[in-house]
């Protein structure tokens, strides 16, 4: 059987900066008809450049310098541009990562899909409309007849991605390239979209080239897996083989660096360093510098392909025929070295409460009309109560738009809360004067999601770290004014110590943020927060913008800091495996309210609320035969400006009852701390007093 797509020795170069970047360097792969082929790798490995090379849509600075790309025997690189236009959208189509940016905002959905139909099938008028409707129905857009005349802004993120898929399918392609198709989506929406892609593939028999960094998505979707590292493929295998016995040290490290429940008491395996810049010349194995098993041969000779079993190939000297003996000894070694010892935190959790939030509400007014009359409120946070003990970790879980981040900022008084109380160590923070609040600011700090926007690009690292110290320790400085020289040198020492603490050499303090990678920037952000000796850190998705191996480094650091400094964390995230790894207690949030609360084991092991159950089941898992039943949620998160009456979850809930539409459920207790708000469970008698907001609705 001939492969549908055959790429041989593809080399793509980007001419940016002083030296050319070899984004793709000698890549060979083949995809069969109807097969899902996953290309897996960290950012900066050249995955997207491979996809764009296949489409011949490289950016201005990109150039394919060698190799061939054949689809059904036809070499795409020999086609003139005009003929290439018949291939794009017809034989190969592509879905991009960001559905918000991939649709033209001034064209209706039907027009955008119709464009494809007109180009490739010369369909016009009623026939075109008919076909658009068919395709939209195919991708599961509800009420497609009405919605096809709408504009992209009227669609939610998940729906937009469906429209993107519809556009890609309109040409009935033989190959669909999906470049991180679900990375920008929430887990429940991701489950819907992945489901849809699988379904469509079964019906139409097209092949999919799936580009992703998410091992979970690979496990759910792929038949074949190729691991890409620094511009080349280092391992190819069938899915079963790959997940059963990954061969390349890099693949094994990727698995080891995934956080999870069973790794709670140990540090995560980290891949030291980061992906080498592709602008340099490589001698020997590209992974050698970060590999635990590297020996002299790896640094001098680039490894060729060696077969592990039939259909499982790896580019590593460990599996070389001649050096095969190394395999067993080193594989044994892995088991010993991988989990580096982080002292299992001798539970510093004491029962003393550090933070107590009661009924916190943050409402944003919606202004309308000429006089900016308040027309309504976006109830971003609508009555959240939580407590964090000293040295404990509470994870706040939920989809985007449910108000997690606003809770964090509301606690820090970065956004003034509308109502409720935030007591830190017994002191009420809501309504404090700016000046009084400032005295307390050193105690609680925040780490942001995006390490690229959380550091001022125009300040040196030392200035960034010292900013908080200077702003908050004003009185210290006054006292030491007569010994001014001494205090500044003390401060310098402290900056050095902080940088070392987060794993950066002290010399880096003279540099600017743009010289650091994402993981290093996140370390700097942590150092900045630690500079003022906080006791509570609010971590707002600190690892979601980072690669898996870097995420492991940051999680290890956070865990170690907690063990040594006794920090308490409010960990805001949507990543369940991080929660399993790090948190003591979990609060699940839906549309501005906490729907379930309990210890990690209780909530993740025995979820009570239907939303928690659905959320957990939607997370892709790395098991070959998952014995779980995935609960598919329909629709999207409703708007917090206009939440549904009664239980907020009832429009999407598979167990909705008439009572759910009327009253917000009170809290049902399952253990000393495990509670959920759901009518499925016995309701407490005094609902109205416990849940004033429930009585209102």
């Amino acid at each position: 059987m001939n492969p549908l797509l055959q790429i041989d020795n593809l080399e793509t170069v980007l001419h940016t900066g002083a030296t050319p970047v070899r984004a793709v360097d000698g890549l060979t792969l083949q995809i069969m008809q109807g097969e899902t082929f996953a290309l897996l790798g960290e950012s900066g490995c050249g995955k997207s450049m491979t996809a764009l090379s296949v489409m011949r849509l490289l950016p201005e600075v990109g150039e394919i310098v060698a190799g061939s790309i054949r689809i059904g025997g036809e070499d795409l690189l020999l086609l003139p541009e005009a003929a290439m236009r018949n291939v794009r959208g017809k034989r190969i189509s592509m879905i991009f990562q960001e559905p918000m940016l991939s649709l033209n905002p001034v064209m209706t959905v039907a027009e955008q899909i119709g464009e494809v139909l007109q180009r490739h099938f010369n369909l016009r008028g009623a026939a075109q409309q008919q076909r658009v409707l068919e395709i939209l129905n195919q991708v599961g857009i509800p009420d497609a007849e009405r919605r096809m005349a709408e504009y992209p802004f009227q669609f939610s993120g998940g729906m937009k991605q469906r429209v993107m898929i519809a556009m890609a399918l309109a040409g009935e392609p033989e190959l669909l390239i999906a470049d991180e198709p679900t990375t920008a989506l929430d887990v429940t929406i991701q489950a819907q979209v992945l489901d849809l892609m699988r379904d469509l593939q079964q019906r139409s028999g097209m092949a999919i080239l799936l580009i992703t960094h998410d091992l979970g998505v690979v496990a759910e979707m792929a038949q074949k897996v190729a691991v890409m590292y620094a511009g080349e493929i280092v391992e190819t295998a069938t899915r079963a083989e790959f997940f059963h016995s990954p061969a390349h040290p890099y693949s094994r490290k990727l698995f080891a660096s995934l956080p999870g429940k069973n790794k709670r008491d140990q540090g995560l395996a980290v891949i030291s360093g980061s992906v080498p810049p592709l602008s340099r010349e490589f001698v020997g194995c590209r992974f050698a510098d970060r590999c635990d098993h590297a020996w002299d041969l790896c640094r001098t000779t680039a490894p060729g392909w060696s077969a592990v079993v039939v259909g499982h190939q790896v580019r590593c000297h460990l599996f070389d025929q001649t050096a095969g003996s190394m395999l067993h000894s080193s594989a044994g070694k892995t088991a010993e070295t991988a989990p580096q010892g982080i002292p299992a935190a001798p539970s510093a959790v004491t029962n003393s409460e550090l933070l107590r939030v009661v009924d916190l509400k943050v409402h944003f007014p919606i202004h309308k009309g000429l006089m900016k009359r308040v027309a309504g409120y976006v109830k971003a946070v609508d009555g959240v109560s939580l407590t964090i003990p000293q040295g404990g970790t509470l994870a706040l879980v939920g989809e985007s738009g449910c108000g997690k981040t606003t809770v964090g900022k509301g606690i820090l008084q970065l956004i003034p809360p509308t109502a409720g109380s935030v007591r830190y160590d017994g002191l009420e923070l809501v309504g404090l004067e700016r000046k009084q609040l400032r005295e307390k600011r050193a105690e609680f700090q925040i780490i942001f999601q995006d390490p690229y926007s959380s550091l001022n690009p125009r300040m040196r690292i030392i200035d960034i770290i010292e900013e908080g110290m200077n702003a908050l320790n004003v009185r210290n400085n006054d006292r030491a004014d007569h010994a001014g020289q001494q205090s500044s040198s003390l401060q310098g020492q402290k900056v050095d110590a902080l940088l070392q603490r987060v794993g950066l050499p002290p010399e880096t303090k003279w540099r600017y943020p743009h010289e650091f990678s994402g993981g290093q920037r996140q370390r700097i952000a942590i150092a900045r927060a630690l500079a003022v000796n906080p006791r509570l850190l609010i971590c707002d998705e600190p690892t979601s913008a980072l690669d898996v191996s870097v995420q492991a480094q940051i999680l290890n650091l956070l865990k170690e800091l907690q063990a040594s400094l006794g920090l308490a964390y409010l960990f805001i995230t949507h990543n369940i495996s991080v929660v399993e790894y790090l948190a003591d207690e979990v609060a699940v949030m839906y549309l501005g309210r906490i729907v379930e609360w309990g210890s990690v084991d209780e909530v993740l092991g025995n979820p009570k609320h239907p939303y928690t159950q659905a959320l957990l089941s939607a997370v892709p898992v790395i098991e070959l035969n998952p014995k779980r039943e995935v609960i598919r949620l329909h629709g999207d998160l409703p708007s917090p400006a206009n939440p549904p009456a009664g239980c907020h979850f009832h429009p999407r809930c598979p167990h909705a009852m008439p009572v759910c539409r009327e009253t917000y459920p009170g809290s049902s207790n399952f253990s000393s701390i495990h509670t959920a708000h759901c009518h499925l469970y016995p309701q407490p008698q005094n609902t109205s007093t416990l849940q004033p907001q429930g009585a209102e609705t």
Binding site: H15, L412, F448, S453, A471, Y512
Partner: protein, 502 residues
Amino acid sequence: MSMLFKPVILWTDALIYLLVLVVLAFVWYVRRNEHMLAPWRRVGHSASGMAALTVLVFFIAIGLLDTVHFRPAVENSGNSEQVYSVEVLSLLDVIAEPLRTRVEKTYSAPFAAHLYARETIELPDGGQVREFPRLQFGGAHLQNPDVELVADVTERAAVGAAQGFLGWCVLVVLLGALLARQDNAGLLPTLFAIRRGATEVPWNAVLLTLVLILSLLGAALALSTHYHIFGTDKVGQDVFYQSLKSIRTGLVIGTLTTLMMLPFALLLGIMAGYFRGWVDDVIQYIYTTLSSIPGVLLIAAAVLMMQVYMETHPELFDTIAARADLRLLFLCIILGVTSWTGLCRLLRGETLKLREMEYIQAAHAFGVSHWRIISRHILPNVMHIVLIATVMDFSGLVLAEAVLSYVGVGVDPSMISFGTMINAARLEMAREPMVWWALLSAFGFMFALVLSANLFADAVQDAFNPRVRTWSLKAGKLRRTERTKTPESKPVAAAAKDSNPP
């Protein structure tokens, strides 16, 4: 022992000195900060930008020479008290002494040896003829201008241009030696590298511009001692001299106006964006109102009011130059007050975006004060916009001055500027035969100034705009062409585009 001159610092002089100091401090600061230096390096990589800068440097040099003012001592016998002239001169006036003092009777064409108008001349025998009299200074050394003029002009021009070229050669060797010492390379290879354009800074473009300017300048200087190379105006003043004097006026208007408006735009724009709420509302209402009033009307009203005040208080000014200068300063202020709205709006938008950035949030979490956040976080991050706006506005303001002076609400009539030159020349356009040179030379100088300012502004904008990466693109293309020349590489995609469909 008394001094030969008395230094005079006019208001605009003081502000220009201040501006020069600020620019020098800025340069010093930028050189110490790698991240601020990087975009300026990109400016240095733009060939058109650097060529434009070369032209601008000459304009700025002339403008600065014209800024150093003083009053020369007047010869007086016996009196111990030193008396200074009421005329305020600048260094440029001293250097261009022959141009300034050699005043003809009235119009004369460029390179002419005769006046442009017939005059009645009494002959020694008592008879009268109407003819074009010889000029007092222009071509006065020629015995028979009709025959000798062309040869003399050509010769002088050639000698002047050759001198300019020689000077250029010396500069090239100096530059080559400097670069060679920096790179530890030989002089000749460095010179060849410059010629090929293989240097980081496009010195070949700079040197090409320089050879043009220096040759022209050499020729112009050699000729201007014996001719009025751009002719003379109605009162017989040299137009070349007037054009040189106009440069300072243009530069002052272009730079000081920006200096005047920056505080408004920066303060109000950042405040509106940062504090939002009622502060934002008030500031927005102010600039919306201001920008809906026709600018010329506002300027005319203000200038006329000021004019009346100045005329009723002549005792405030000890020289005419001081009065003209103050009027120029007021024009700058008025233009500044009416033109800050555009930049203010831009800055407000950018600040609105910045204040939501996470590093600002982090600063809030540290309890950093508002003014500290504004000065340390927001201001440095909007400076690129300020810079781009400043250089882009410059040329517009130079043109605005010309228009306003033409309308009659611009600079003092006694001050030489492009606007007053054009204004004086416009009536003569209708004359037969036409007097075209005054207008043409004002136009030429202004065109060169504005064009080079615009080209430089484009280079600055490209370098500071994060979305444009001119240099890397260019370097990529360069390398690509190099590679296609080498035989071992196979540019597949490029070849594919040329081949026929199978």
